[in-house]
């Protein structure tokens, strides 16, 4: 009996491990360099995090249903190329709408392949990732394109003293929170990820919800691409490359399970900030640039190890029982 409760306590502590992990990393860098714990540096971390935060928030929906979307990097690229070519001088709201639409349309194609044709998400989005990047290369003739001056201003601009890109990420967070908490959609997503067959039996509209999460992932990635474009002011053929892996890593770092049904909206934000903090801190301590990916890799590895530890503990807590765990009664 007693060991069971210890397992449960450990399980609860591990729920907070992403945030604890972030604090540990922040403390380590604060000790290593005085330039880390300053208002300007912390704001820089959030600014650098914003594009990935959007992509990871979208990815989070997909992961919660036990799916995956490997095409978000390609969607970012395609959205960035489209706005650079089609609406370089349009007002910002038009540009945002176009980027979001490109992502949503692409995501809805992903969703259709998955729910209508029954192709596993991994395979379907792997294929569309190549298609998306190929289309982007085709439209841009594999050239680097410049973002319009208006868009570049968005990347540097502020509103109410807070950088505009952070407002975008905050809006994404608000949309995610609304969908996951204020609507039944959130319960549906969680239910599908936990037990697909059970969700079907419970009358969850599986087809519609599954399709929706890919549309959302696409739309979020489209805007994430736009934000990244606004910050870098140009889109090269390598734009958004491997963004899907960073987004998955961020979500997992934040406690979202790759097997679905476990995770919340704040988790990916913590994960993104953690990844950016590591990169920012490494730069501040003048680490060898080649050490960045290694460190990021180690951070992801630790997070995934914690995740699997938590999964096995959860499995232990929820294990099927034949006998009730009560003092043996004769």
């Amino acid at each position: 009996m007693k060991t069971e409760s210890i397992v449960q306590i450990l399980n609860r502590v591990l729920r907070w491990s992403p945030l604890l992990f972030l604090c540990v990393v922040a403390i380590v860098f604060t000790i290593l360099t005085r330039r880390f714990f300053t208002i300007s540096n912390i704001q820089a971390i959030f600014v650098q995090s914003s594009w990935l935060a959007l992509v990871a928030l979208g990815m989070n929906f997909v992961l919660l249903t036990a799916g995956v979307d490997l095409s978000v990097g390609a969607i970012m690229y395609l959205a960035a190329v489209t706005v650079s070519l089609a609406v370089p001088t349009a007002p910002v709201w038009v540009v945002v709408l176009v980027a979001m639409l490109v992502g949503a349309v692409f995501g809805s194609a992903n969703g259709l392949f998955i729910v209508r044709l029954g192709i596993p998400p991994f395979i379907a989005t792997l294929a569309t990732a190549f298609i998306g990047r190929g289309l982007g290369l085709f439209f841009s003739a594999a050239q680097a394109l410049d973002a319009g001056a208006r868009l570049a201003a968005v990347g540097r601009g502020s509103w109410l003293g807070i950088p505009v890109v952070i407002w975008f990420a905050a809006a994404g967070l608000l949309v995610s929170l609304t969908l996951m908490r204020a609507l039944e959609f959130g319960s549906f997503v969680q239910a599908i990820g936990a037990d697909h067959e059970g969700a079907r039996r419970a009358g969850v509209p599986i087809t519609r919800v599954t399709w929706s999460v890919y549309v959302l992932a696409g739309a979020f990635a489209g805007i994430g691409g736009l934000i990244s474009l606004a910050q870098t002011a140009s889109v090269s053929p390598a734009f958004g490359l491997n963004a899907e892996f960073l987004a998955i890593s961020a979500a997992v770092l934040g406690g979202t399970s790759l097997f679905g049904g476990r995770g919340n909206v704040w988790g990916p934000i913590v994960g993104v900030v953690l990844i950016t903090t590591v990169q920012d801190g490494m730069a501040l301590i003048n680490a060898n640039p080649y050490a960045y990916p290694v460190t990021t890799g180690i951070v992801i590895f630790i997070a995934v190890a914690l995740d699997s530890l938590r999964s096995s503990l959860t499995a232990r807590v929820e294990r099927k029982r034949i006998r009730a765990l009560e003092p043996a009664s004769a």
Binding site: L183, S187, Q190, D195, G198, R201, A324, E326
Partner: protein
Amino acid sequence: MSMNSTMTNTPRLRVDGLTKSFSTVRVLHGVSFEIGAGEVLGIVGENGSGKSTTMNIIAGVLAPDEGAMALDGHKFAPADRRAAEKAGIAFIQQELTIFPNLSVEENLLLGRAPRVSGALPFIYRKQRRRQAMEFMQAVGLDVNTGTPASRLSPGERQLLEIARGLSIDARVMILDEPTTSLTSKETERLFALTRRLKASGIAILYVSHVLNDVLQLSDKLLVMRDGRVTFHGPRADMSPERLIVAMVGRSIDALFPPSRGTVSKREETPVLELRGVSEPGIVEGINLKVTVSEIVGIFGLMGSGRSELARIVFGLDPHRQGQIRVNGASLISGDLSARLRSGMAFLTEDRRHEGLMMDASASENMSLAALRSFSSSIYGRLQTARLKPALKAMAGQLRLKCDNIEIAPVRSLSGGNQQKVVIGRWLLCQPKLLILDEPTRGVDVGAREEIYAMLAKLVAQGKSILVISSEIEELIGLCDRIVVMHRGCIVSEFSRMEFDQKTILSAAFGRAKAV
């Protein structure tokens, strides 16, 4: 609810002449019964008697081949489970459909959450909490509505499931083995709740292996055997003894190999010995011996822990206390490879998912466990020249019906031949001890006979067998000894001379051994 005003002679649920076949096997042969509002109908029968199939049909999970149902006098033919729920059928299954990652109130009202207004899709949380509380109070579930369901005990989950049944305004509630994972206290609460539900006019179909509970709760009884109803009437007309006769009452046909005659004198060291093996929540204090050339059977009802014990013995699942010894040597909990080295082999009950690679050929499947002994000692290169004839010989020995054992995927074979492939895999390893979990599940009669004969031959060669089965005749025909499990414990043991279907079954139902 104004159930009393609608009380007429029309039964709440009427089931008429249901039949159902799975591929070629007929599992229901015209099942008919009825239940009135505010009645509890106790349903009993052995494993495979057709109870589950019948309940699944009522709940819309399966469609019957023939027959009709009527709910309060109206034709009732649900397209799926959702439709049945809408009509007022709540199916509370043994395997509960609770989402552990959702809160209690989310689970309770999933897909039916109240909204702030008709136009906006936002959840009206306060209202949802209030509704959830109402149903939780009705079933006596005393937890916070926001608690994640993963923190509920099995008993509380059961109550949550029943609360969900109430929330769909159930007219008929099916409770399938509701007490399996409950403590005695929780069971008491469930009974009190059942009586309250009954008083509110809900018709309750109570399926259970615990005969005392059924007799205590029911107004009427339905006994099933081999897909037929063998008794349907008031509970007052039934005694526990007559109940068991109605469930069993079947002669053993000539399916089994002739008795292997006198049992030879046993050697002292058992091949397998369990001493006080326990795992909290699973099995408790298991003592068991299997000696050379012996077939020992484990009989138990679903949820008795029989398969779980087999998995522990083979090291697939851990155990916390007690010893498992093979040929006198103690084995560590969960150490699978030590078991393989000591000559243990395990046939899973779940052939499709755990036993076979369905798209691989019979040859590939059979060679899997013995690859090491067919590899050269230096590089580990597979010696096909030795392996191929061995596989061919094994296929012949098993009388495997397969066009080409190297090409045809095992998916294309019949259930019996698939099982032979699994058996062949382990025989190639020259095991000393075979653990068989439901060796003839989904196997047709002809192939069964061959499998039985093969097992008899193996023990004659000095191998030992531990066989788990939910079919009592199979064990009686096959075994030297039968131990009976109930709720994770071995409750009795029978030697060949004492085999008696009724007594063994009584033991499995948790009734005192009456030998």
